[in-house]
Amino acid sequence: MATNEEILKKIREKFGDAVLETSDALGEAAVSVRRDVIVDLLKFLREDPDLAFDFLMDLCGVDYLEMGGFERFAVVYHLYSLKHNHRVRVKAFVPENDPRIDSVTELWAAANWAEREVYDMYGIEFNNHPDMRRILCPDDFVGNPLRKDFPLQGIGYRESFEKIDRESAQ
């Protein structure tokens, strides 16, 4: 088991210029990076024998609208090492005007549906994803519901169905 400090130090040494911030709060190691290194970084984390993060626990999105992130969106990867029993959280920031990032499905097949959910909810596209389409909302849905500026009551989809009345039903 590597300590949080050792994990973060290793990441800083290898990807120094792409690391925006590291933190070790409440016993949890977290690192924020530029999006262009994400596949290399996660591959390194998975394959380095002392780190061996072999398990992608979760992959989700965040909308930092008015919350002071490095960019508007982030994609967050929660990694766990079954071998060494340690964890790390990686955030890759994605700008609003070009919301795309490389897919990690080739590292973990489990990322497939998680990335589709992020695409559905935040509109962040994943390059090289084998099946980039919505997973929860209907295919013809417009908008990305978990964006902070999406209205809670939607933009008319829930009212858009055909009305069947008693006469036409007979």
């Binding site: 909302c137 209907p138 849905f141 939607g154 933009i155 009212e159 169905f161 039903a169 007979q170």
Partner: protein, 159 residues
Amino acid sequence: MGIESKLGDNILTTRIDSFINWARKNSLWPMPFGTACCAIELMAVLGPKYDLARFGAEAIRFSPRQSDLMIVAGRVSIKMMPVLQKIYRQMPEPKWVISMGACASSGGVFDTYSTIQGIDNFIPVDVYVPGCPPRPETLIDAVMKIQKKIEKERSAQYR
């Protein structure tokens, strides 16, 4: 034992509407459209304690083509609404709809982009059942209201 022993060798006369309605109301075949917690209460209604069989409505059909009473129990999402409409269309006439619970009737607490705000916006509903979830007695009351409604129907209104 039965009524036959009292009747002897006689015949009964009635109106054809009364006869058909009497048969219909005592042999409702519900189609359970259970999408959420209300469906659990619907199952309780069908179970031995509350026993919807007493009202002739125990033959639950999961095929809409064999049923005439749809019980929408639970919230309906935007992805489910086209399915609900399709199932409703597949049911043969005559058919009745019970909207069970706050969610099916009005969206309940889920006033969000993904939840239909009352199925009556899109399909005809005969009886609304209040509650979150409604007690089994309340649903039984709704079935009895449907039966009262059927009593008053004229068979000529269906082609």
